[in-house]
């Protein structure tokens, strides 16, 4: 026992000496870090790994673009997914003079609102949020309005098809709003155009998405739109198998059904973030409300036609769509109008 005690105590003494010595020069880099206060700093609170190939990677790549395009000093935290951790992470960034902090998800709202009043020179942005409250003007919700591109899709479907089936993941506003846009677009062409909607109740059940799609096709629909995250892949499978038309959501999905996808709705959220960061850096960002990205933000939300589809969208229809863009951007068309 004594021998063990001795060995262990010796180890502790050596190691604590090492760590104690190591502690002294550590103060230096910390001081250096505080000197260039003028640098523009952008931080990210990511709710998951930044190399996930999806949601978090989008934000991380936007951050990298801020570094190369704006010369920003960047840093991110894959924050522990507990509300207890969020506030501290926001504070740790803001304390060090970060002017642009993105909480990548609505779950960061409560924490941002709690922290923001203490840091009036920092902007706290929230992804997929419509938050705006004049009493905490430096917390800004960012949302992308999918109902606008989906309005265009509905319009095209009603012009070219016999009926449409929409397959959603869960019945939450981001999804149901995109479907409202689709239905409004379709009804603008033909108020009796049949559009059916189903919600899977999850984001993962590819088989259920495919089944729902096929039952719509059997019922006479020849256009499909899936907005169900991973489960949406089942919709593309049904398009491919039954050879009906459809649209790609949030990115280029052409390869999943090369002849059937007529157009893709591309969401380049990163471009939107970099644009905002540039404004914050220049000091020109003066928010008067939450930020809603739409077709008017041409580099953020846009539609790309698939020229290699079995029947590409004809030119005269594309001209009509171009006219719709203008009406949507001017507010003449309300893509979120309640469906009759």
């Amino acid at each position: 026992m004594k021998k063990h005690l001795f060995v262990i105590s010796a180890l502790i003494i050596v190691l604590s000496l090492v760590t104690a010595c190591a502690g002294q020069p550590a103060a230096e880099p910390a001081q250096q870090g505080e000197q260039p206060a003028a640098a523009f700093k952008a931080g990210l609170l990511a709710p998951g790994p930044v190399n996930d190939g999806g949601w978090n990677q989008t934000a991380y790549e936007a951050l990298k673009r801020m570094e190369t395009e704006l010369g920003a000093e960047i840093s991110y935290v894959e924050v522990e997914m507990s509300p207890a951790a969020f506030e501290k992470a926001f504070r740790d960034f803001a304390d060090q003079g970060y002017q642009f902090i993105l909480g990548h998800g609505n779950e960061f709202t409560d924490a941002a609102v709690a922290v923001a009043p203490d840091y009036p020179n920092t902007f706290f942005f929230l992804s997929s949020s419509r938050f705006y409250d004049p009493s905490v003007p430096n917390v800004i919700g960012l949302n992308s309005d999918s109902s606008q591109p989906c309005y265009i899709f509905g319009y095209i479907a009603a012009k070219m098809g016999t009926g449409a089936g929409l397959i959603g993941g869960m019945e939450i506003p981001p999804i149901s709003e995109s479907f409202t846009g689709f239905i409004n677009g379709a009804h603008a062409v033909n108020p009796n155009f049949p559009v059916q909607v189903t919600y899977l109740g999850n984001w993962t059940d590819t088989a259920a998405a495919k089944e729902a799609s096929i039952s719509y096709i059997d019922g006479g629909a020849n256009f499909l739109l899936g907005n169900a995250d991973f489960a949406g892949n089942g919709v593309y499978q049904a398009m491919l198998e039954k050879n009906v038309y459809g649209f790609g959501m949030f990115g280029d999905n052409t390869e999943k059904a090369p002849q059937q996808v007529l157009a893709n709705y591309i969401l380049d959220y990163g471009a939107g973030l970099v644009g905002l960061a540039a404004e914050v850096k220049a000091g020109t960002f003066k928010p008067t409300g939450n930020i809603e990205f739409g077709l008017a933000d041409e580099d953020v939300i846009y539609i790309v036609y698939n020229e290699n589809a079995a029947t590409p969208v004809p030119q005269e229809l594309r001209d009509e769509v171009a006219a719709l863009y203008a009406k949507i951007n001017s507010g003449e068309i309300d893509t979120l109008a309640p469906v009759k």
Partner: protein, 351 residues
């Protein structure tokens, strides 16, 4: 008290007290080597970690806030482990407590504060206790191994929570997978503004002390420990083993459930799908680190809170990727367990 017993006690104390302090620097030392290999400056990384945890009053209170659920869970687990019940289900019991507390905090929100706060805490503790007793019942009635059943019950609790926050309990705006905020009357007092330090931390300290007294200073605790050391001998001595198993799981689950209730009532104010980042599993290490002594859990809980708290700043300022941060945290747990085994073996030799 004679000299020999004092010496024995001191020895015993030193053994349980110094193990964590030995395990941590060794883990950090190995971590430093890994950081070097990966091309990061370990000194800078650890300096950032230290700063993140202790740089000012706010940072220190944040460490205590992070330690709070770990102390609740760890103190409860210490009781179960002393009874040789390997409760791996504190995570699920924490969720059960958080769900019940949220339900009470929302649906009975009109009650006055002096009624609602105790009710929220009671709901959390009792629901966690029931969740724990479920595993004890399966063990007593069917001989089902509690390691398996508690792990399974974790998933059930987490998935029920997921269903509740996306379905029946989703906030009225229905935008995101979270419940509405609980009534302000259910919030715990944050007594050191502007920091977030709350009375739940005090409650955790009290619970740890009470459980220590129960386990080591009462006949009830003695019987629980007797069952843990040798259930057959305990049964022969006239102890109702099944009842002790049920009780140990109720205490353990109740403490975890109370932790869940406190997390909701003091920090998050609402329920999310992922309300715990794995407190239930960290709690196991927190308890083992101090040889399943509820009093020691206070210190090991704070230690883990500091590690967690500092790790984020390490990512932020030293730009160390999160995988390496998790790796260092894993090393700490590993070396803690290794030391636990060491002290266990050396104790056996001694006896």
């Amino acid at each position: 008290m004679d000299f020999v017993s004092i010496k024995k006690r001191l020895l015993k104390f030193s053994r349980s007290a110094w193990t964590p302090f030995a395990a941590i620097p060794i883990a950090l030392g190995i971590g430093a080597i890994l950081l070097l290999i990966a091309g990061y400056d370990p000194i800078q990384a650890y300096a950032a970690m230290w700063q993140g945890a202790f740089k000012d009053r706010t940072a220190i209170t944040e460490v205590l806030i992070k330690a709070t659920p770990l102390i609740f869970i760890g103190a409860g687990l210490a009781v179960a482990f002393r009874c040789s019940i390997w409760n791996i289900g504190a995570e699920g019991q924490f969720y059960a407590g958080a769900v019940a507390a949220t339900a009470v905090g929302i649906y009975l929100g009109d009650l006055p504060r002096f009624l609602l706060v105790p009710l929220v805490l009671f709901a959390g503790a009792s629901s966690g206790a029931l969740w724990g007793m479920l595993a004890a019942f399966l063990k007593n009635r069917f001989g089902a191994n509690e390691v398996v059943t508690t792990i399974m019950l974790n998933y059930i609790a987490i998935f029920i929570t997921g269903w509740l926050v996306t379905g029946p309990m989703i906030e009225t705006e229905g935008l995101f997978a979270q419940t509405a905020k609980i009534s302000q009357n259910a919030w715990l007092w944050r007594f050191l503004p502007p920091t977030r330090l709350h009375t739940g931390f005090i409650l955790a300290l009290v619970l740890a002390i009470v459980l220590y007294i129960i386990i080591f200073k009462t006949s009830l605790g003695y019987t629980i420990r007797a069952v843990g050391i040798n259930p057959d001998a305990a049964r022969y001595a006239g102890i109702n083993v099944k009842r002790k198993v049920l009780l140990a799981m109720a205490i353990s689950g109740g403490a975890a459930g109370l932790g869940g209730a406190v997390e909701v009532a003091a920090i998050s104010y609402r329920l999310y799908q992922l309300i715990s980042p794995g407190y239930g599993f960290d709690g196991i290490a927190v308890s083992l680190l101090v040889n399943n002594n509820p009093l020691g859990v206070i210190f090991s809980g704070i230690l883990f809170g500091a590690l967690r708290s500092g790790a984020e700043v390490m990512q932020m300022n030293a730009k160390v990727p999160s995988v390496l941060v998790f790796l260092i945290q894993g090393l700490v747990v590993l070396s803690v367990v290794a030391f636990g085994v060491y002290s266990y073996v050396s104790k056996e030799k001694e006896e």
